[in-house]
Symmetry: C2
Subunit: 171 residues, 2 copies
DNA sequence: TACCCTAGTGAGTGTACAGTCACTCCCATG
DNA sequence: CATGGGAGTGACTGTACACTCACTAGGGTA
């Protein structure tokens, strides 16, 4: 599926650093046919980003299921753990980082906001936590992006330990 | 100064979306001369990023000065306010977002980690706050990046209000 | 057979960009 | 005057990329 290839390739190279030909190659079709399926490069990126948020939502739901009937904070905590596991391989996380950096392309900004909205609404609705807890949930998710994208979680320095505390990293 | 131009231009277009010619134009010198001053495009980006962190550190210091002799959390809070004011114009913030997305380019990842280290160490040392408070400080800073870069802080929806609560946005 | 439709491609076009190089201009010093 | 060197550039090269277009192969249906 082309959207999956777009997800993987854009996650590696970013929007400007990935060519349509890269995605065509991974999808085993010609660049020309990619443009038959998606009118512009942006549409391709958006398709990848939507697939990314689909996977995230699935993981959050699975995490919440595992903490059924617990108190709101516990459900949120379980979701956080599921998310931390999910982004172990950096793909979904890097795509979000790239999306943020090209959020000024209208179509992409729109898709990014829609994804964040889905996550926020789901976290709030499914856990029943109060607004502050949901905000903190998202804030620490963003911290996680910084740590993993910049490989800070692999460092041993004191400052890195402060930032990474309580956040697992792939071993 | 070329580093200032690099900061401004890379903040607008990102690493791959900005040409050396753009920066040359804004610096009022020829592209050829840019390459006399900086051997590679990456070096230019790094110079801009360092200038960015210099400005941030200055702002944090000014914020901390304004809260002299107060308790650690108050100092940290004042720094947060100073930071929120500083990134009103999106430039410094967007450059960080772009840097994160190309952190896999070794020279850039290095510079980004160095900048985050400076901020973390300064926040910790100057406020005297405990590790958890410093981690939270950085996490909410990252949330701030998401909100501003994706224009979420300008939205009126309920989910956007949850995420933006307590974070001022330019009016 | 004649027709059409879906899935797909090869070969290109025009443009834009990182990086190079030989060169000029001008000023300071002996 | 000569000469050396810092500041700066015009013109170029090779490559890479988004996007287009005319085309084919093959299967289903009348």
């Amino acid at each position: 599926m082309v959207a999956a290839a777009a997800l993987a390739e854009f996650a590696r190279g970013g929007y400007h650093g990935t060519t349509v030909a890269d995605i065509a190659r991974q999808s085993r079709i010609s660049p020309a046919y990619v443009f038959k399926l998606f009118p512009r490069k942006e549409s391709l990126f958006v398709a990848g980003l939507q697939a990314c948020f689909d996977q995230i939502l699935d993981a959050l739901a699975a995490g919440a299921d595992a903490a059924q009937n617990q108190r709101p904070d516990a459900v949120l905590y379980a979701m956080g753990g599921a998310y931390a596991d999910l982004i172990r391989d950096r793909t979904l996380l890097m795509l979000q980082a790239h999306a943020l950096s090209v959020a000024d392309i209208p179509e992409i900004g729109e898709a990014l906001r829609a994804g964040v909205a889905r996550i926020t609404n789901f976290a709030k609705g499914r856990s029943g936590a109060d607004d502050d807890a949901v905000q903190r949930f998202v804030a620490y998710g963003q911290l996680c992006h910084l740590l993993v994208a910049a490989h800070i979680d692999e460092l041993d320095d004191a400052w890195a330990a402060i930032l990474s505390h309580g956040i697992r990293h792939p071993d």
